[in-house]
Symmetry: C2
Subunit: 328 residues, 2 copies
Amino acid sequence: MARRSGVSISTVSRVLNNSKPVSPEIRQKVLEAIKETGYRPNLLARGLVLRKTNIIGIIVPDISNSYYSELVKGTEEISNMYNYSILLCNTYGELKKEMEYLNLLLEKQVDGIIFMTTNLTDDHINWFKENEVKAVFVNRRAEGLDIPYVSIDNYNAAYDATNYLIKLGHKKIAYVGGPLSDEVLGKERFEGYKQAIYDAGIDFKQELVRVSKIGIRNGYEAMADILDVYNDITAVFAANDIMAIGAVNCILDRGYKIPDDISVVGFDDIPLASIIRPALTTIRQPIYDIGAVAARMLIKKLNGEKLEEKAVNLPYQLIERDTSAKAR
Amino acid sequence: MARRSGVSISTVSRVLNNSKPVSPEIRQKVLEAIKETGYRPNLLARGLVLRKTNIIGIIVPDISNSYYSELVKGTEEISNMYNYSILLCNTYGELKKEMEYLNLLLEKQVDGIIFMTTNLTDDHINWFKENEVKAVFVNRRAEGLDIPYVSIDNYNAAYDATNYLIKLGHKKIAYVGGPLSDEVLGKERFEGYKQAIYDAGIDFKQELVRVSKIGIRNGYEAMADILDVYNDITAVFAANDIMAIGAVNCILDRGYKIPDDISVVGFDDIPLASIIRPALTTIRQPIYDIGAVAARMLIKKLNGEKLEEKAVNLPYQLIERDTSAKAR
DNA sequence: CTGAAAGCGCTTACAG
DNA sequence: CTGAAAGCGCTTACAG
């Protein structure tokens, strides 16, 4: 390439990167030679000397889950916009894979990491303490770590969802959700529910609460368990749409009318939520934006820019559809 | 690292890669030093000398579409198993982005590319002719290119779906599908439908056919158009589930019973297909497997192994659910 | 403005 | 079995 145009490789590098002035004639010659030869710079070599790969590693529990794939889409688009590529790591939520990928990403010399896990453990925290990588967390706050995160405020969203039912006049409000061991999907949302109940002066009843692994079937059964004992509830807050759909099916199967007899509010606004009949009232997360903001924050860090905030909570929205109505 | 253990970097390299015998004592010393220092090999540098990055680039139209995310999951898992990482490129189906990404992947020195597009053009073909990359196509045959592809046999699947309806005694079978400009989702499936009709000795009627951009709404309207004129059809083959769902909604809205009055068979078996009521009879694609096989084929090529077949069609399956029944 | 040289962190003949 | 040296394809002081 360089010899082809009769100049040094230094000069070729300079016209390619515009890093230093090059005389117009020579620039011209180089450009022509590049065209003719179909020369492509080797970004690996460049990365080696610059210590910068322009690759961002992204670790997700399950790319086939629409939540994560939408989020990855957001990350990918913003990354691409800023000239970064995405190295995708799918972990199936397994700690072992997560740790392997974290190490691998470092060896691959990625510039930064966007990290998602359903279960943040000390292993993760310690790893990030030992390895100073630029990183951004999604949906998890990392205790004692100087790593920013982006999320929505799950506690307040759950509070608002519950409160919405209360304002509709409901008093017997069941809770169906994911395991409390899950900090975000389980605990935070449950706490929001509980607080709303307390604040409304309603008696909190543990019997109206069912938590289990997330799944349509589990939502169905959790709902069945509750209805077996309390057939006088008038509302359910299901802390994720998957279980909400299970709950809806159960309620319908038992012959209750939705929303006439029982109102249901979900959480997440997955695509299905607006398609099932009756369409689900639920909390919408700005999933794409979460991914996009995470990427933007990481890239700012990579550029050495100061982040104004260590944590970003994006706005959520209550989408009223057909599963909720005033209490009789 | 090397000096830490008092040996040469050559030796360190050799214990790390097991590329040459190293005396047990020295190996031991090196291993210890690695532990102590938390040394991590720089895979970029290794890639530069080996001319091998162990990265596979994957190009998809829309990662947030469950079809592609499921497929990427398959690719990712197999790749990871063989020690490859995935560089994810989302194109929104735009030719410009596709070409940019193809070039970028080459500059990033990926070992191979798994390529998906909804619209394979000469630009793509020419690019692959000019750049000899190891690649595998998904769902598209590349005319005049020595690039293997993996897919299902869309023509035969559509044939079988239509034939299934014929065997149920249906004679007036409408067709609703994607644009014929789409080789796979449009043309191949339509041809399969047509051939089945012919083979059964049924009169093919162009008026029973509606193609349009894929979308629930469009499926609904295509169905409405047909029912406006032919209210005596007893079955519909909708060549993708999205439009099938639209068609189902339309049929129901018009007061027909499914499957009593009209049977519907879809194509793809998207998650929704089994969730809507009545649950959709449809053709299931082994999406995860398509991704997995594509990765496996590419890796074989990367290893210099011969592929037995240039094209792999994975088995599809007709899933009978509640939208199809014998003709009255 | 341009080129020769050093160096990024590895691997691998080559010599011993 | 082990080390010094060359080289992968770049970038960037340094000298001119």
